[in-house]
Symmetry: none
Subunit: 204 residues, 4 copies
């Protein structure tokens, strides 16, 4: 391996360190309240060093979001795949649950990706990203459900949007209102997911 490659690899490592530090700080204090200095301090480099790896603060956010979207899509898709052969209701339940779980386990990412709408976030979109690919999995799932006779025969897009709203609602509230006296977390999530599925299902 040449010297060039080693350097490149080191560069990648530092980029990663920056992203990690930024993710943590952004989540704790909010994008606006985190300065380049603070990110630099956290990784024990000087502020100008960040500019070697990222054009500016926004680019750090963008990269971070891109990675977040990828993780997000991966989480949902793999759950869907792993439950491919279960009966539909369970497959759906687990896939929806993976959405909420992602938000719960990656509060920082979820906040930045789906709750806050940072100024120019839209600009990341269009650049190839996985932001809405999770939604496509949902549409697919819904279509299966209709074919299966479980989900009621409506516009799959409409259904998917409604379901997404249901998922986002619980995920966002648990994230944002962490001091609200929720009933036990597993219980409210489970109840809510079933409520959603019931809400879109044919009555027996």
């Amino acid at each position: 391996m040449g010297i060039k490659d080693r350097r490149k690899r080191e560069g990648v490592i530092i980029r990663k360190k920056i992203i990690e530090a930024a993710t943590e700080l952004f989540a704790q204090a909010g994008y606006e309240n985190v300065s380049m200095r603070k990110i630099a301090a956290k990784i024990e480099y000087s502020p100008p060093t960040l500019y070697i790896y990222f054009k500016n603060k926004r680019e750090i956010l963008f990269e971070l979001l891109k990675q977040g979207y990828a993780l997000f899509y991966e989480a949902i898709k793999s759950t869907y795949d792993q439950n491919k052969d279960k009966d539909f209701r369970n497959k759906m339940l687990e896939t929806l649950r993976s959405y909420v779980k992602f938000g719960d386990e990656n509060k920082e990412y979820y906040k930045l990706m789906f709750i806050h709408n940072i100024d120019e976030t839209e600009q990341v979109i269009g650049r190839d990203n996985d932001r809405y690919r999770g939604f496509e999995v949902l549409v697919m799932l819904v279509k299966e459900g209709i074919a299966d006779g479980v989900i009621n025969r409506s516009d799959p897009i409409l259904l998917s949007q409604s379901i997404w709203a249901g998922l986002h609602g619980i995920t966002a509230l648990l994230n944002t209102f962490d001091k609200f006296p929720w009933v036990e977390k597993e219980r409210i999530i489970d109840f809510h997911l079933n409520m959603i599925i019931n809400g879109v299902s044919n009555k027996k």
Copy 2:
């Protein structure tokens, strides 16, 4: 009317102008990104003037939130009251709709009250406010529904939290993702509300 009264009233008007300007700016750009300078510029006063009417930036936010909570509660409670005598499902539908409608018609308030969670917001609570009184209306409604036999016999708190999550989901997404290709707004809202009610109802 004495001179004193006129002056006082003028003061009240400026306070109102400040709140309005701040509401708009905070919602657009986020609390952290709005400076006193910017608020002052928007109402065409000098920055120090703001400090005549509000102790500091936080107090502007507090006042704004307080007003928002009051409007919010009023919107929901009055809808509930006006539909008191309708059959339960319609009463519920209209009350839930009033939540989404409030969020849709007061995007800035909704964002500040329920989407962003500004650090200091928690401090407003405790000071008498209407933040969670809307939730109490919901609990009441749910209990009626259970008594009525429409809503399934579960923990009313659990049910209410789930419904709230459902409502917040659609309200927040429409607010935040205004560039997403939603199906027609009235349609998705209507569908979603019915989905929620179905989701918590006894099957016939």
Copy 3:
């Protein structure tokens, strides 16, 4: 008594209140750290009211100093007069003590008059004031002492300046270094005054 007189008298009262409030605040926090607002708040008037009675902040200081100088001179002169008939050493001791006592009992005034040298304080001088009239008492005393054979035959001005320095030293240090581990206050003062007198006296 006419209405005009009453008003005038009321004006005098408010002026006095302002001076009192200012004296206290200046002494506590230093001239620079006291704002017109704070003075106004202390007497429960609005800031512009102060400008009815004083041209500006400096004028408040000047007035205050003028009063301080008067009190100072009065304290020393009256002590001198009251001890006119005692033997010289005691007369001197008591007069010198009255200087230190004034500084101890009027810390705020002493600080403003003799320790800090606020910007334009010099401007107060020239306006008739009692700043240096205390010094004249001292010169008089010294001359008496020389005539009396107690104080050594030197330039009375030189002697007086040296004595003043001695007095200022203890007064200022006790005022400024209130956390220094002084021996008991009465004791150090008494010792110091005797030291001064011995220092300028003929040896027996």
Copy 4:
């Protein structure tokens, strides 16, 4: 010399320039009346640059005081050492003179260290500093004088405090009242120092 060293040295130079500018300004106008802007202007840098070298305004004062205390102690101690072998009265005279001389030649430092008592100054103490080590030299001297039979047999602490007050008096007055019609400076200082020594000496 490496690049790093040169940079470091340049940094040290700027720190020094800041301290010098601040010393002059603080002494002239008082700590409270000197703004970071003004210090920056004096050294022809932008205000934020100061924050590269000092955390905040207070730290500039602290550093400055620390240096002043060191210079002060050094001045007195070295004089004492240099006169170790002279007869006691001369040793004492020269040591006391070095105090006054320090104050005369370092008016700004003396003002900041012993005349003004800036709120936060107390906080520098405790951090290792030389503020009161000069006083210890004085105590030592006094004890020698007692042993020597020159100084009268009193509490050495009491004696030292009284002498300090004497020294501070002349130093502070000459510093603060530079427009007062003093007799010739050398003369008043010399007279005053002898007055102090006589004041604490045994009569022959």
